[in-house]
């Protein structure tokens, strides 16, 4: 897996201009914006999306055929992509969080609980994004993958809308349920969301392995 990780990090170099731009935007945001958490979300999500680019690079020019003739397994390849995604997403999340903390201290602003919550809530979101995007990218590849993701998000919206309508019709009070959630304590809630998103990532990994096992190069 280390060999594949090295390959993906070497390929990231192609996007170095883009990275500089992201860093520039982030620094500008930190310096001039009142909402420092934007930087954490922005950096983490953009970096996470580079995992998808790495899959596109592998596919380009039929590169996968050669890649899979090397001593790697299909399962190992999938595992590497998930690890790469976690390193990129988690790493940029950690770095940008530290940058936010430093900027707050420099500006003599207090590090409030609200700030911590806003930063920590991004972590499970990154995991969910990875869990949804990776199987799609592996199954459909670059261009088709994007269309498939847009389609799926649409279907999820329609499903949510239908569930809400059905709930309304059956007199189930979601609002009351949501209002009761804060009684759990924000820390517990974040922990539950984190565990659930990790479980989703594990399920997504299993699906991705099944997708890769069926692929022909």
């Amino acid at each position: 897996m280390t060999g594949l990780l090295i390959k993906d990090f070497k390929l990231l170099r192609i996007q170095k201009t883009f990275f500089l731009l992201i860093v520039f935007i982030s620094v500008a945001q930190l310096a001039f914006s009142d909402d420092p958490t934007f930087v954490v979300g922005y950096m983490s999500f953009v970096m996470t999306l580079f995992t998808l680019s790495s899959i596109s690079y592998d596919e380009f020019d039929n590169g996968n055929a050669f890649l899979f003739s090397l001593p790697i397994t299909r399962r190992g390849y999938v595992r590497e992509k998930y690890v790469f995604g976690i390193i990129l997403g988690g790493g940029s999340w950690a770095l940008s969080s530290i940058a936010v903390a430093i900027s707050q201290l420099v500006k003599s602003n207090a590090l409030t609980i609200d700030l911590f919550v806003a930063v920590f809530v991004i972590l499970p979101l990154i995991i969910i994004v990875l869990a949804i995007m990776l199987p799609f990218q592996l199954k459909f590849g670059g261009e088709k993958g994007r269309i498939a993701i847009i389609g799926t998000v649409g279907i999820i919206f329609i499903l949510c809308f239908l569930i809400a309508k059905i709930a309304q019709a059956s007199n189930i009070d979601f609002i009351a349920f949501l209002n009761n959630l804060p009684t759990l304590g924000i820390g517990t809630l974040l922990f539950i969301v984190f565990i659930l998103s990790t479980l989703l990532l594990l399920l997504s990994y299993k699906i991705s392995v099944a997708i890769m096992n069926k692929k022909e190069f």
Binding site: K10, L11, I14, Y57, F66, S69, L70, P71
Partner: protein, 267 residues
């Protein structure tokens, strides 16, 4: 080293049914037109595509039992695939050292220098010859026992082709148990290198012979209609109508040299 027994793969307009064997110490050639099934055979051997039937035994193991350690013993060149063009040779070194336990960095660098391959240039900027040499260099730099080379000489000029065939001869000389399976649609590449040759046509092996026998006993007879009528057909394996009469393939060249001194015989 490698034994393929009625390997089958079906596509909409193409069916493969291939059997061949590569023995230790031998270079086996697979020759055929574009689209004859060479690449499909190679992909099936490497597990890149699923098989619809038959069996592949690689390094003494069933294909399904091949693990990453076994794959380290293979050196692979695929005609239409390689490292990402955005990488440089320098980039590939740490990748290869982590993937192959026996990657010989010094040998790799020394050969890259010998072939004039630039270390810091992106591979996509390489010429066809440089790309081909790099692919073969990667295949022979990690202690492989069996090379599986799909069209390694495709698109190369004569000099580059000879250089590449030289690399392969060196590989064979390093260990008497080394073996190579190599495909090409250029027969002259293979006749100087291979110990035996298979010919594949429309997904099936139509011919197999030792190269020595092929070169000494086989010949093409070019005959007129009258000569064709009087020809002893028992040693004619195939014939084809031509504008001048017939072109016949035989595996008894000497017989025709002695008995039909007037007909044109091509080696």
């Amino acid at each position: 080293m490698l034994k393929i027994d009625h390997l089958k793969k079906n596509y909409n307009s193409f069916s493969l049914d291939c059997s061949l064997e590569v023995l230790p110490g031998c270079v086996t050639g697979l020759i055929g037109q574009n689209g004859a099934g060479k690449s499909t055979t190679f992909k099936a051997i490497l597990g890149l595509i699923s098989n619809d039937g038959g069996s592949v035994t690689l390094l003494g193991k069933d294909l399904g039992a091949i693990n990453t350690k076994d794959k380290e013993k293979l050196g692979v060149v695929l005609s239409n695939s390689g490292f990402s063009g955005h990488l440089t040779i320098k980039d590939t070194i740490p990748i290869l050292s982590h993937l192959f336990h026996h990657f010989d960095k010094d040998f790799f660098l020394e050969q890259a220098k010998k072939f004039g391959l630039p270390l810091s240039k992106e591979i996509k900027e390489f010429s066809t010859g440089m790309k081909a040499k790099l692919k073969v260099l990667v295949a022979i730099s990690h202690g492989a026992k069996l090379l599986i080379l799909d069209e390694p000489t495709a698109g190369l000029d004569v000099i580059a082709r000879d250089e590449l065939l030289g690399i392969l001869r060196d590989f064979m000389e390093r260990d008497e148990n080394h073996a190579i399976l190599i495909s090409s649609h250029i027969s002259s590449d293979l006749e100087t290198l291979c110990d035996d040759l298979y010919m594949i046509h429309e997904g099936e092996i139509v011919f197999h012979e030792d190269t020595d026998v092929l070169l000494s006993d086989y010949a093409l007879l070019k005959v007129t209609d009258e000569q064709f009528l009087s020809l002893d057909k028992q040693y004619v394996q195939r014939y084809k109508r031509e504008s001048y009469g017939y072109r016949c393939l035989t595996n008894q060249r000497q017989y025709f040299v002695e008995n039909y001194p007037k007909i044109a015989i091509e080696k």
